[in-house]
């Protein structure tokens, strides 16, 4: 067969992802008991956050220029993005680390499909995606309570920023995991990332300058959470979104390059 052109290849990739998604859902449906636990966990987490938010705003009207409703948007995005991470990104990356440690990555690399795609789409934890729904509800509630109408453009900007944010977080995670090609034990990174992600429940503008820069470019919480929230609350200019898009593309390309370098190292081509 001749080398397939770009379009059929992309269609193929989508079909592959769709199959993996279907299998993931089928697997999760076998563990229905998990749903109760997951829902409970999500509800408790959100309730705690709401309580903290309520407490803060019982003392003040605004935090770093954000009103209570606006911060609810930030929290909604935080919960939503957390759901994306825990249902798709984290399970796949953990599997990748295990595969590197146990040598089962060999099976992935002997498959006639893009390796990065395979390692990124193999797992899907359905019940963790409850947070995506819960986060969306929080955002919707917040939008209704905002004292200004939200335009269609702002909603579109918000959705775009969400997708960019998800890609950014994915790239960041994969970058960390690629470290496994050199240092075999990177499990603790998961906990480290979890800890840092907690900081995303507040807009990055509430943090002091050096932390803000860190949360923007080192751990891209700003792009993942704050920027979408800014888009929905009328704070984001077109330039900011463009900047976010540029950052996302740059990070994706860097990830792709390092993935290849990592593979070369894994297969001993660099030695």
């Amino acid at each position: 067969m001749a080398a397939p052109s770009r379009a059929p290849r992309d269609a193929q990739a989508l079909r592959l992802v769709a199959t993996f998604l279907r299998m993931g859902v089928q697997t999760e449906l076998q563990y229905r008991a998990n749903v109760v636990f997951s829902v409970l966990q999500s509800v408790v987490a959100v309730a705690t956050s709401l309580a903290v938010l309520g407490l803060v705003f019982s003392h003040t009207d605004a935090l770093g220029g954000w009103s209570g409703e606006e911060l609810l948007v930030v929290m909604g995005v935080y919960v939503l993005m957390g759901g994306v991470i825990r249902s798709v990104i984290q399970p796949n990356m953990q599997q990748l680390m295990e595969d590197v440690q146990q040598g089962t990555l060999d099976f992935v690399l002997t498959k006639p499909a893009d390796g990065q795609l395979l390692v990124s789409a193999r797992r899907f934890e359905l019940w963790q995606a409850i947070d995506v729904v819960l986060g969306a509800v929080l955002v919707a509630v917040a939008v209704v309570r905002l004292d200004r109408p939200v335009s269609v453009i702002e909603v579109l900007g918000f959705l775009t920023a969400l997708v960019l944010g998800a890609v950014t977080i994915y790239s960041f995670w994969l970058l960390l995991t690629i470290g496994a090609f050199w240092i075999v034990r990177v499990d603790s990174l998961v906990e480290l990332f979890d800890g840092m992600y907690q900081a995303g429940r507040w807009p990055v503008s509430v943090y002091p300058g050096w932390l803000r820069i860190g949360f923007t470019f080192l751990v891209p919480l700003a792009f993942a959470i704050t920027v979408p929230a800014e888009a929905l609350t009328g704070r984001a200019s077109g330039w900011l979104l463009l900047g976010a898009a540029a950052f996302t593309v740059a990070l994706s390309v860097l990830t792709r390059v390092l993935w290849r370098v990592g593979l070369r190292h894994y297969s001993g081509a660099s030695a």
């Binding site: 067969m1 193929q12 079909r15 592959l16 199959t19 993996f20 299998m23 089928q26 697997t27 076998q30 146990q102 040598g103 089962t104 060999d106 099976f107 690399l109 002997t110 498959k111 006639p112 499909a113 395979l118 070369r264 297969s267 001993g268 081509a269 030695a271």
Partner: protein, 342 residues
Amino acid sequence: MDDDGGNGPGSGGQPAIRVRELRKTFRVAEREAGLRASVRSLIKRAHRDVDAVAGVSFDVAPGEVVGFLGANGAGKTTTLKMLSGLLHPSSGEIAVLGHTPARREREFLRRITLVMGNRNQLQWDIPALDSFEMNRAVYRIPEAEFRRNRDELVELLEIGDLVRKPVRNLSLGERMKAETAAALLHRPQVLFLDEPTIGLDVTAQKRIRAFLAEYNRRTGASILLTSHYMADVQALCNRVVVIDAGQVLYDGGLRALTTRFSAHQTITVGLPEGGADLSGYGEVLESTPDGRTSLRVPKTQAGAVAARLLADHQVSDLTIEDPPIEDVIEQVFADRSAVGAR
């Protein structure tokens, strides 16, 4: 079934696998035990180059089943990994079905498979059937062809009931059968099998063995197989490539291996009067009360010893045999590691 048609390297045409002067050198960090050495190695790392594969050449013809033998650390797995494109050779040439494996072209990967007995690729929590479905998507097997291949494999391996259970509920033998089926759904033309029967009970081993022979017969695929079980090799391979310390020690027929590497033969002699002490003729391996004695003698003297036995004693019967292949291989590695401990 085994008419030797496609077997033997001389069957003409392009070889399915062609390996020339293949080398793989690993750079390993070296440090002595102890805290002080650990600290020192943080600052200045001492490296040593280890030749895992040091100039290996061989061909495998289309449809041929070749046993790839060697002690642990001889370079078998490293070679298999280079053949399947997982490792880049340090030097040398490989062509598998005309492809250079290290390029990992999809067309190449679609035509081969890799099975490692000690590692599984099936997902633990879902039934094998679902993993098959994933492989269908990855290999882009057309639906009708997929069904046909799957049903054929399921039938041949007798795993009809098992493929619906989550893989974690299967026994090791059952899992290995399912693994094998998953690895062959796309009908690969070249199979790299690294210890496909390791840890399995005798029945399961036999089942896998019979299946592989049948698969080879039906599809004409080439198989390169490593195994610690000589029964696997005897049942499947006419030819073996023995490697040691990264080099080919022997490449040829299984029977000829015995002739070449065994310096001894076993003479079994029956003496009706019994009771005679035959230790003067050779090393007595076994002596039974009914007067049968087995002697281990150097191959070059076997004829002479037999003649002497016949002249000196009243002999009812006498046979001269090569030792079992397992013993020969064991001998080969024992001798080599004694010589080449480095």
